[in-house]
């Protein structure tokens, strides 16, 4: 027992959490007692004796679990535990539940955790659709309903879509650029372990007085500043997810800039690497804005600040400006890595170089720059200065141009190729092109102020965001998971089940989200538990498709679990791809490469006689002697 308490792990983590939470609780109680205040403040926006432990508890868990061990020992002048690589690799499933600094283990930890939250949040969506299947109130009351869609969106965005791209890239990106690991492995592990905390906070808010946070994932003030305790769980969950996201983005930036293998110039990087470079640039600059916005709401709730309290001289609309300054770029944070995945999959399965590679990379950078200038298109009817609408409309419509470039370039990649559609990853990539085009088109419509005035805050918005985030992001996530499943697990998945999942998902997505455009334009507002009779039939249809869409995800789950355990062994390169991760075994060796590869050409040179992307160890006499100092200087 003593040993368990001394050793980093779950026991010490639980102990750390309890002690730190008790410290936070004691601090609040003691300070209030000294100040002569009532010990417990239970106004709905108060509860400092809950909120403070909610900060200290998770930090105590992270410390106990071992996330800070190396740094703390070093800071305290104690002998650091030498990195004997015992924390690398996973020998059994138990190793995935430990603090591990191996980027491949962390990648899988991310993906599995994110899918856990995907299914939880999917269940919330099923409840939402069950309630909306008929007009009137059947299953949940209006207050609970508001909690359902708020947590559904928060979980899907902050602990599924945003981080799962970090998870996929965590696994794949160091391999792709020929690096042995990420630049900061301990920071990488810390980033991961902050995520489940955020997710559990979102879910945990259902259990507190007043119920889950119910001001929407947008949490507009002053509805959020006056909301019950659950809102504080959202404010703090976003901090953990945001910190995780920022730390990972820094890690990717440093890894991509400094750890590319010799010869991997920027213009030889696979587009997935370009995509993650762009995404990371967005995350490090934009995410602090939502963290700040949520802290300001928390302070308004708890400390009596007046950021967004109109009665105290605060400005209500400034919340929306700060929030959307992150949350619009966030849409691209949720799309650009997916663009990268699609480029890899389409080029490989069309057996052809990416059409217009440089323009593809530049389009990503163009999106990064433009996406900082479009946030107020979420606020055309918000009552902000009206002159701001037209400039924001122009930038919003212009951002369709680099996005269009990507669509056309993928189509160009297919022409004169040899297109193979046996892989579910390729199917999802092709469906993504069509579905995402619809989301892009409705986005252009929403960018036009007069149309937006009518459909803003209606089901048209719900339709648009799901075409973009489900037909866009989630399709690319599935494409990525299917594409790299053999690399990650060393097994092949079942393509027949993959096809069932694919067709079910495509039909479910279109059936669920397409009619939402119509009911929205015709007068159904979003975020309502009840609606007019006239929309009854459409909503019933939407719900039926939604249930199908939900059910078919179980096929995916089954396929992944069973194939991981029993699937046929995968070779190192089942898709005959060029990039470096496919030139090592599946799964790759613990340190990725026996010798750092040397990059001699572009990543998509299909059909070019004699072209190579990288020379691996054992490829022949040309291989340079491994020189460890080269890593990090490339």
């Amino acid at each position: 027992m003593t040993a368990a308490i001394k050793r980093p792990g779950w026991v010490r983590g639980a102990l750390g959490m309890v002690l730190a939470a008790a410290f936070g609780f004691g601090l609040v109680v003691a300070l209030r007692a000294i100040s002569g205040l009532p010990i417990f403040q239970t106004e709905q926006t108060g509860y400092p004796h809950v909120v403070v432990p909610l900060v200290t508890g998770p930090l105590g868990f992270l410390a106990g679990f071992g996330c800070f061990d190396y740094w703390l020992r070093w800071a305290a002048g104690m002998p650091t535990i030498p990195d004997d690589h015992s924390q690398h690799g996973a020998k059994s499933w138990r190793d995935y539940f430990r603090f591990n600094t191996d980027h491949k283990v962390i990648g899988i930890q991310y993906i599995c955790t994110n899918f856990f939250f995907f299914f939880v949040s999917g269940l919330l969506a099923m409840l939402i659709r069950a309630e909306l299947a008929q007009p009137g109130t059947q299953i949940v009351d209006a207050a609970t309903f508001n909690g359902l869609f708020s947590t559904h969106a928060a979980i899907m965005i902050f602990v599924f879509i945003v981080p799962i791209f970090a998870g996929i890239a965590n696994y794949v990106l160091p391999l792709m650029i020929g690096a042995p690991d990420m630049a900061f492995p301990r920071l990488n592990a810390l980033s991961f372990w902050m995520l489940p905390i955020a997710g559990l906070m979102f879910i945990g808010s259902f259990l507190v007085p007043g119920g889950a946070f119910d001001a929407g994932w947008t949490g507009y003030a002053p509805l959020s500043t006056g909301a019950p305790l659950g809102q504080s769980f959202f404010n703090l969950g976003v901090q953990f997810a945001g910190a995780s996201s920022i730390a990972t983005a820094l890690n990717f930036l440093v890894t991509i800039i400094t750890m590319r293998a010799p010869g991997m110039t920027f213009w030889r990087m696979p587009l997935l690497v370009w995509a993650n470079l762009s995404t990371s640039l967005l995350v490090v600059a934009a995410t602090p804005f939502i963290a700040g916005a949520q802290f300001m709401v928390l302070f308004d709730r708890l400390l009596g600040t007046q950021f967004f309290q109109f009665a105290g001289g605060g400005d209500v609309i400034s919340y929306q400006h700060i929030f959307w300054f992150y949350s619009h770029p966030a849409v691209y944070i949720m799309l650009l890595p997916g663009f990268g995945i699609i480029s890899e999959v389409i080029s490989t399965h069309a057996r052809k170089p990416i059409f217009g590679y440089r323009l593809m990379a530049l389009a990503l950078i163009g999106i990064v720059v433009l996406s900082y200038s479009v946030w107020a298109h979420h606020m055309f009817v918000a009552g902000m200065f009206s002159w701001l609408r037209v400039p924001m409309m122009i930038t919003t419509l212009l951002i369709a141009v680099p996005t269009g470039i990507k669509i056309f370039s993928w189509l160009g990649t297919l022409y004169f190729g040899k297109i193979h559609t046996y892989s579910t990853a390729m199917l999802f990539s092709l469906a993504f092109i069509v579905t995402f085009t619809v989301g892009g088109i409705s986005g252009v419509m929403l960018g036009m102020v007069p149309l937006d005035i009518h459909v803003s805050d209606t089901y048209f918005i719900v339709a648009h965001i799901h075409f973009v985030l489900f037909g866009g992001s989630v399709f690319t996530i599935f494409a990525g998971i299917y594409h790299w499943f053999p690399k990650m697990t060393g097994r092949m998945y079942d393509e027949k089940l993959g096809r069932v999942h694919f067709w079910g998902t495509v039909v479910g997505t279109w059936g669920t989200f397409l009619p939402m455009h119509w009911v929205g334009m015709d007068g159904m507002p979003r975020r309502v538990a009840d609606y007019a009779e006239q929309f009854g039939n459409w909503n019933l249809l939407i719900s039926v498709f939604a249930f199908m869409l939900g059910a078919v995800q179980l096929v995916f789950l089954y396929n992944m679990i069973v194939s991981w355990r029993f699937g046929p062994r995968a070779g190192s390169n089942p898709w005959r791809a060029n990039s470096i991760e496919w030139q090592v075994s599946s799964p790759p060796p613990i340190f990725n490469f026996d010798e750092i590869p040397r990059v001699v050409g572009g990543p998509y040179e299909f059909g070019v006689p004699g072209a190579r992307h990288a020379i691996m160890a054992g490829d022949g006499a040309e291989v340079a002697k491994p020189d460890p100092t080269v890593v990090g200087q490339a």
């Binding site: 009552g383 189509l411 004169f416």
Partner: protein, 263 residues
């Protein structure tokens, strides 16, 4: 390389598909009944966008389906495609043409926006008060007459709605008018509407405002001026003093009424 593609046939197929989609979609009045001067203009903009969007969608679908039909690998074929890395002319084209299209869309939208928010000489001003979960209305030109849950406005006269929220953000939407504006605590926002069709409509709150959000509705009646005058004259209540205080205290973000073109 381009010469080997049936460009004319693909273009014809795209145009044909565009025509089919447009023919199906244009006759439907997606936005519902039109009851303000803005409605027809916004719906025309929508129709133009439907045709442009149908073309873009058709282009993507036709090009994709043709590629899948023509360039699909035979089973067992392990050879690679042709090593084409790009085509500068094509890439410039699909950068410039969409830019021109979206700039056209922006210009057109801007002109529609100016059009629908153009103030007229003799507008009627109506105060809108929103609170969880009810609407009420004041008529400053009529001695601050006050009505709860029911809004009356005269036919064919521009109305300037001055929006005031007493608690959280609400949003004022009458779908038939195509006009929406948030009611923001602390500031007064403005919406301009010229109702041009008599009848009864529904005012819907479209900004999440709490558990009663879905039920936060009010009745809107558009009637000939004489009937409107009779109805206002029949209102017994005046706008309550705290509400008048709210109007006084609120700042107006847009002293010049909306007008992207300015006044």
């Amino acid at each position: 390389m381009m010469g080997r593609l049936p460009i004319a046939k693909m273009l014809a197929a795209t145009v044909a598909l565009t025509a089919v989609i447009s023919a199906v979609m244009l006759p439907i009045s997606w936005n519902g009944q039109q009851a303000s001067t803005a409605a027809a203009k916004i719906d025309t903009l929508l129709d133009v966008m439907i045709v442009i969007s149908a073309f873009v969608f058709a282009l993507v679908v036709v090009v994709l389906i043709y590629a899948l039909w023509k360039f699909k690998a035979k089973p067992g074929d392990e050879s690679d495609g042709e090593p084409i890395h790009g085509n500068t002319r094509l890439e410039v084209a699909w950068t410039l043409i969409p830019t021109i299209i979206v700039l056209f869309g922006a210009g057109y939208s801007w002109s529609v926006l100016n059009d629908i928010e153009e103030p007229t000489k003799d507008p009627l001003t109506v105060d809108v008060f929103s609170q969880q979960y009810a609407w009420s209305f004041g008529y400053p030109g009529k001695g601050n007459a006050y009505s709860q849950g029911e809004l009356h406005v005269p036919l064919d006269r521009q109305v300037h709605f001055k929006m005031h929220s007493l608690d959280v953000i609400h949003s004022f939407w009458v779908p038939e008018w195509r006009i929406k504006k948030d009611n923001v605590p602390g500031i007064t926002t403005t919406a301009i509407v010229t109702p041009d069709k008599a009848g009864a409509y529904q005012l819907i709150c479209t900004e999440l405002c709490g558990f009663g959000h879905a039920a936060m509705r009010a009745k809107v009646v558009v009637e000939p001026p004489a009937e409107f005058r009779r109805w206002v004259a029949g209102l017994k209540q005046k706008v309550p003093p705290p509400y008048m205080e709210t109007i006084r205290q609120n700042t107006e973000t847009d002293p010049i009424p909306l007008g992207a073109g300015g006044a």
